[in-house]
């Protein structure tokens, strides 16, 4: 297996701070705005970047940067600038790189946006979730629908020409009409990119607990799917390319960073809970801000030289470290690719893995064919991809290949 050497890596920075944690969120983040903690955290981030970037020859080349969270926009602009600067210092970042920051409509100001522009951030991902204030409230969001519109306007004025809007459906209080209204309002704002997620209620979240206690009702599957299929048709009509299960983009505006996750690209994550995939190794950092910070102040981190070094597995900040086998890689390649519209491109598979797809998965062919016959999968000599119906039950299809 090889990751295409001409491909450049994506750099992800996790900012685990939020004003307040949303009721459904199961990402790793911490509520409140303790500025000292943020400062310390950013220092630790910079150290982590330095460890990896310390060797001058062989600097890692990157063409995307993604500041995600949490709510990265909660930080003072100076801290954001310091993060971006450290990335540039330690990695070879393309001049044309896509640099995204996730933000919450309530946290943005004109000044912040201008600072982001100065830092070279060229893409905003706005967590709108809904344009219905009642729904926003029930989700535990800290902003209103008006805030979203304001934010987009402000961003345009600041010169952002690449904006993503996140929406959620199948959430409590959202009926089909409200969903349509939310989507239409989103389209009116003419974002270059939009993501639309079906709510997943995870254990350990307040929603999860409410569901267990019976205070929260899950949206019926039928409603969920009609919302999804309606959205698919609507964004298609609006001229967007529905290029991944939950993502659509205007021409040339696919999220290049996220595409790395679905095309078996390399990425390196910094910060607590951040995941990386480099040199065929998947590893991640601990989900604990305090321990992450203290592990980064440890001077002894010689593992920065190479990703596959076993020391990395034992490092204080490491939570998971897994050297992919051929089977791991092939199956990850397949199930992530199946999330995209293009699906698995057989020729690309062969180039990466040195074997033909059906030589590796010959025994699964019959099972896949049954999904082709039932209209869930398209399979031809070029590629294998899910149909709209196939997306609904994609796990079952992907499970064939793990």
């Amino acid at each position: 297996m090889k990751t295409n050497k001409a491909d450049k890596a994506g750099l992800y920075v996790h900012i685990p701070f939020c004003l307040r944690k949303c009721l459904y969120c199961d990402f790793f983040s911490k509520s409140g705005s303790d500025e000292n903690l943020q400062k310390e955290y950013v220092q630790a981030l910079i150290r982590e970047m330095e460890f990896y970037g310390s060797r001058q020859e062989n600097r890692i080349k990157a063409d995307t940067v993604f500041l995600g969270g949490g709510t990265p926009s909660i930080m003072k602009p100076a801290l954001t600038a310091a993060v971006i600067e450290a990335l540039r210092k330690n990695f070879d970042i393309d001049t044309e790189a896509e640099i995204t920051i996730e933000c919450n409509p309530a946290t943005l100001t004109k000044e912040k946006l201008e600072e982001y522009r100065k830092d070279g951030i060229n893409r905003l991902s706005i967590g709108a979730q809904s344009f219905d204030d009642d729904v926003l409230k029930r989700l535990g969001r800290v902003h209103s629908s008006q805030d979203i519109i304001q934010t987009v306007r402000m961003a345009r004025k600041a010169g952002f020409g690449n904006i993503n809007i996140d929406l959620m459906f199948a959430v409590p209080g959202l009926d089909m009409n409200k969903w349509k209204a939310s989507m239409n309002k989103t389209l009116e704002l003419e974002p270059e990119h939009l993501s639309f997620y079906s709510l997943e209620i995870a254990e350990g979240t307040p929603f999860g607990e409410m569901l267990r206690q019976g205070i929260l009702e899950e949206t019926p599957v039928e409603t969920d799917r009609s919302m999804y299929h309606w959205a698919m048709e609507t964004i298609d009509r609006a001229g967007y390319d529905h290029y991944e299960i939950s993502n659509a983009a205007a021409e040339g505006r696919k999220c290049r960073h996220n595409m790395k996750y679905w095309t078996f690209g390399e990425y390196m994550g910094f910060g607590a809970s951040a995941h990386s995939f480099m040199g065929g190794v998947r590893y991640s950092n601990i989900c604990d801000i305090g321990r992450y910070i203290s592990s980064m102040s440890n001077q002894d981190m010689s593992w920065g030289e190479s990703f596959s070094r076993q020391e990395h597995a034992a490092a204080d900040c490491t939570e998971m470290y897994h050297v992919n086998s051929f089977e791991d890689s092939a199956s990850e390649y397949v199930f992530t690719a199946l999330r995209t519209k293009e699906g698995v491109i057989l020729e690309d598979f062969r180039e990466r893995f040195g074997s033909r797809f059906w030589d590796v998965y010959g025994r699964q062919r019959g099972e896949l064919e049954s999904f082709v016959r039932s209209g869930h999968v398209i399979s031809d000599s070029r590629h294998i991809a899910l149909t709209g119906m196939g997306i609904d039950i994609s796990n079952r299809i992907m499970a064939i290949f793990v």
Binding site: Y197, I245, Y261, H275, F335, N395, V402
Partner: protein, 605 residues
Amino acid sequence: MSKKDYQQYIRNFSIIAHIDHGKSTLADRIIEKTGLVESRDMKEQFLDNMELERERGITIKLQTTRLMYHSQDGNDYIFNLIDTPGHVDFNYEVSRSLAACEGAVLVVDATQGVEAQTLANVYLALDEDLEILPVLNKIDLASARPDETREEIEEVIGLDASEAPLISAKEGIGIEELLEDVVKNIPAPSGNPEGKLKALIFDSKYDNYKGVIIYTRIFDGEVTKGDIIRLMNTGKKYEVTEVGICAPGPVPTDVLKAGEVGYICGSIKQVSDARVGDTITLDRDPADEMLPGYKKAQSMVYCGIYPAEGEKYENVKDALEKLQVNDAAFNFEPETSTALGFGFRCGFLGLLHMEIIVERLEREFDLAVITTSPSVIYRVVKTDGTVEMIQNPTNLPPQQEISYIEEPMVKADIMIPKEYVGGIMELCQERRGKMIHMEYITETRVQLHYEMPLNEVIYDFFDALKSKTRGYGSLDYEFIRYERSNVVKMDILLNKELVDAFSMIVHESKAYARGRFVCEKLKEIIPMHQFEVPIQAAIGQKVIARETVKAYRKDVIAKCYGGDISRKKKLLEKQKEGKKRMRQFGTVEVPQEAFTAVLKYDENK
């Protein structure tokens, strides 16, 4: 001491009891008292040595042990305590162990009184002309009513219980007195040590090193290592490689003589070659006649056993063979099912026996198996006058070739406290039972005699009886005859395709309810597919019940970014793992547990 004298210091006896009346606990106490095992080394219920037996609180496999007892008369006695299995499925085995004894200690729970199985066991013991020593157990409990129980024993069984020791096996009360009674009242063996060898096989088990170990009671003559023995029923001959006594582990000795109980090894490959009840004699000087009472193992209940994973066929076969070498009452032969592939049709003494075998396959051999609906043997009389015995519903001839079908009937003796009579009569009627007789054994206890189709007994009759009588009901049954009956074959179709493994033979009057039940159960268990799955129960072409499993609509993960990939992969792996436990029937996937679930027929549902 003359050659014959040694026998007067031997006592061969069993303990018989209704289930839970404390047989195993008493055995433990006796073993403890005679000093075979130190009290602190005792596993609870020493003789129940299979894990499964201890869990279920029943004895399946016999265990026999030789004890030394120093009596108050100043002599040392050899006690051979021969355990008996404690379930109605194993009546024949019980009768053969009893045949190896001169007496039996009858344990009656003084809080419960005489139960159906107490009676059944007593009759078995009387058939063997045994001296019966009644004892009243659990007298330490406040609810003990020894006088009433004594009366019951006298009235119902007709035994003099006035001298019956009052004991508590649990508390160790009265054990000494009981042992003295054994010495005094149970006759010593009186075989002829000089006669031709005549020995009874009352149990056998397979040992990896020694081959089959035969447990035997020598009636006449003697046997030593190197003798060529002949098993009179099978005619097979073996050279004796070892003889010994059970302590309870095997302890080799030079010789086993008339009156003694011990074991014989002879490189015998499987226990069915040394069937319980057979007579051992010497090949060079055979006995003139064999001991009475030998019966070939008769399977009453059949079911299919299939490997859950097809590639484990050979492993299942090996395991069944191993179980068979140890269990002469269990038999199997290969069969094929369109739905389940290659497997085995297995015969059992009863449903408990079947459950035990399946559980042992899973526990001792770590094999996952699928069992099909248990079936009795139907006698099918065809239009051309020929008769076929059918134990697999799939093999039932086409309707037009059948003149009529007969099903096995049993005589069921049920003993219950009188307040449950109504409920149990209803249950029996519901199970197509015909009441033959009802009697008040005492003021509060009633015995019901029914004739019932075995088919109705094997499902869960015993469980239903227990639950409707809060555990006080007891059951004993035996086969009486075949009787013409209106039974039909009910098939189950999944997505319009017949799944033979679900086919069952049911009485016409029950078919609708049962069909509905199976369809509902399967609907609960079969996961959603990418298409609708109709589930139908049908008799011939006629659909009598129908359910539908809806097609699934959503199984998708909305977000899959950098940190989600490893997690998501695990999820998909789990999903795939779940799929492995499914059986593919045509286009439909059915979880393994579906087969057991449809057997658990809950009529209250």
